[in-house]
């Protein structure tokens, strides 16, 4: 398996799962997620605080997008015989998995990162604002976590609709487990831990509106836990996919 065939597979995935109007819808949802951000703070030095509030919305819409996109690619592909068609060519199962995952992951990351970049303009921030880059990087482990959970569900249920429902319910259920908003169990809680820590590091204080300071070990957990869980889930999903009966 050469990188040429991985690229060919990724092109197949893009054509199949992001052609009109799917790409447009995902993009629209992403844009929608930043529309109702709070008004610009008058003091320039405090404006970066808005990034912290703006991203909460993003997590909400990101979850729907990820569940839909990954369920379609990993579960829908079974019902329409795509997996069977592709695996009848000399394509390794791990390569197919990798190509599918990478395509979906990169597309969503690029869409959300670009939309997030527009915050610089909306909030009238400098592109060098360190907290912009911190929040951008903080999206990555969250996309990883949400997507690997969705993929694991998709492979087990092998049905697009069931997979979308199951993953949406599970992920929003998790998000509602804790409503105080600082628990590391939920995306916004982890994000706050990172944002608060780096805010003190770069601006010398917490952003406007944030009260709670997480201890340093929370910050490490907030970053590493999603990564670790994702890696474990990915390894398990690949192992499962390699042994699946494709009928």
């Amino acid at each position: 398996m050469t990188h040429k065939s991985i690229l060919a597979l990724m092109r197949w995935e893009l054509k199949e799962y992001f052609s009109f109007p799917v790409f447009e819808i995902v993009l629209f949802i992403a844009v929608f997620s930043i529309l109702n951000t709070s008004s610009i703070l008058p003091v320039y030095a405090e404006r970066y605080s808005n990034l912290h509030w703006g991203i909460q919305n993003i997590f909400f819409y990101l979850t729907i997008s990820i569940c839909a996109v990954f369920s379609r690619s990993f579960a829908g592909a079974f019902s329409k015989n795509e997996i069977k068609t592709l695996l009848s060519y000399p394509i390794k199962r791990s390569s197919l998995f990798f190509a599918k995952y990478l395509t979906m992951f990169l597309t969503l990351l690029i869409i959300y990162a670009s939309v997030w970049a527009s915050q610089l303009y909306i909030q009238a921030l400098s592109p060098l604002e360190p907290m912009f880059w911190v929040s951008l990087l903080a999206i990555i482990p969250e996309i990883l976590l949400l997507s690997t959970i969705t993929v694991a569900i998709a492979l087990v249920v092998k049905n697009e609709v069931v997979s979308i429902f199951a993953s949406v319910l599970l992920l929003y259920g998790l998000a509602n487990l804790e409503s105080g908003g600082i628990s590391l169990l939920i995306a916004t809680g982890r994000y706050k831990a990172l944002f608060g820590y780096f805010s003190i590091l770069t601006h010398g204080r917490l952003p406007i509106g944030m009260m709670y300071v997480h201890p340093p070990e929370d910050v490490v957990i907030a970053f590493l836990a999603p990564l670790l869980i994702s890696i474990i889930l990915l390894a398990m999903s690949i192992a499962y996919f390699k042994r699946m009966q494709i009928d």
Binding site: S5, A8, W12, K80, N81, L87, K92, D247
Partner: protein
């Protein structure tokens, strides 16, 4: 039950006692199948296990027990090596509808690492008669065109062996003939072997040299068409009488009768002298004080072979 028909010296596909079930539904029951080079027909009713068997051959399904080999290699463990040498068209194909015909073939050529893909694509499109559809989106293709595209993508990797699952389903009669003609031509010019699964017998009569008949997850007959035609040939008679067992016992004593079997209340006799046998039966029936319900010569057409093979099976179980 005589499963082998003929012994095969160099099978390309060979499965021994392959068992597979979907949940509690036992789909393949000790499937023992051989296919040589040439064009093989794989015949069976809907739901008899053809598609599942093809899944096993391609390493998509891991059999619960038994051994399946393709080119002498294990179908599950060496499936990549096998698939490099095989082209496939499934019953239901999922090509991205937004691809153009030519784009699909480029994709497949890349996967098989075909060096001069532009030329191969042109040639394959010519072989299946799709030159004009190359730049049209696949979603605009008719059912017949989709089948031809399916055949083209199965051929682009220059495979030694091509598996076609129900290639003629949903294709109009003319399209069917053209498709089968194409297959025959490709076989004759390039030496590519085929395994063609179908539930339509007449598809295969003209082009196959080897026949495999599957029923309820078992191979009930397989062999070279000419051998099977002979086996179930004109000198086999089918006799229905009021007491088949009594009749079978008596008819076996006749010198002109080679062998006798009883299936489903009918007696099958393979005979040396058809004319004499035809005359002697009514007399024999009268002597035994039985009633003669039917006396019929079995012809060696594929349909007869098939019906008989399936009949033998239902009597066995």
């Amino acid at each position: 039950m005589d499963k082998g028909g003929v012994r095969l010296e160099h099978p390309i596909i060979k499965t021994v006692d392959v068992v597979h079930s979907f949940g509690r539904n036992l789909t393949l029951k000790n499937l023992t199948l051989n296919a040589p080079s040439g064009i093989s027909g794989f015949i069976g009713r809907n739901g008899s296990g053809k598609t599942t068997t093809i899944g096993v051959l391609l390493g998509l399904i891991k059999p619960q027990s038994g051994k399946a080999t393709f080119f002498g290699r294990d179908c599950w463990k060496d499936s990549i090596a096998i698939r490099k040498r095989v082209g496939v068209m499934h019953e239901i194909n999922a090509y991205p509808v937004n691809f153009k015909g030519g784009e699909l073939l480029e994709f497949v050529a890349k996967i098989y690492d075909i060096p001069n893909s532009a030329q191969s694509i042109r040639q394959v499109l010519g072989e299946v008669g799709l030159e004009d559809a190359r730049d049209k989106p696949i979603k605009t293709y008719s059912a017949g065109m989709l089948r031809r595209l399916g055949l083209a993508q199965a051929l682009i990797g220059e495979p030694e062996f091509v598996i076609l699952d129900e290639p003629t389903a949903n294709v109009d009669p003319l399209g069917r003939v053209t498709l089968l003609d194409n297959i025959k031509k490709i076989h004759d010019s390039k030496g590519t072997s085929f395994l063609i699964s179908t539930h339509i017998l007449s598809d295969l009569e003209k082009i196959c040299n080897w026949i495999i008949i599957i029923d309820e997850g078992r191979i009930v007959e397989q062999g070279y068409v000419k051998d099977l035609a002979e086996k179930y040939s004109a000198n086999v008679y089918k006799i229905q009488v009021s007491n088949p067992w009594l009749f079978a016992g008596a008819v076996q004593e006749l010198a002109m009768v080679q062998n006798t079997t009883v299936n489903n209340q009918t007696v099958l006799c393979k005979v040396n002298d058809t004319k004499a046998f035809y005359q002697v039966v009514p007399k024999l029936v009268a002597d035994l004080k039985l009633e003669l319900i039917g006396l019929q010569q079995i012809s060696g057409t594929l349909e007869e072979i098939y019906k008989h093979a399936i009949g033998v099976k239902s009597d066995d179980t």
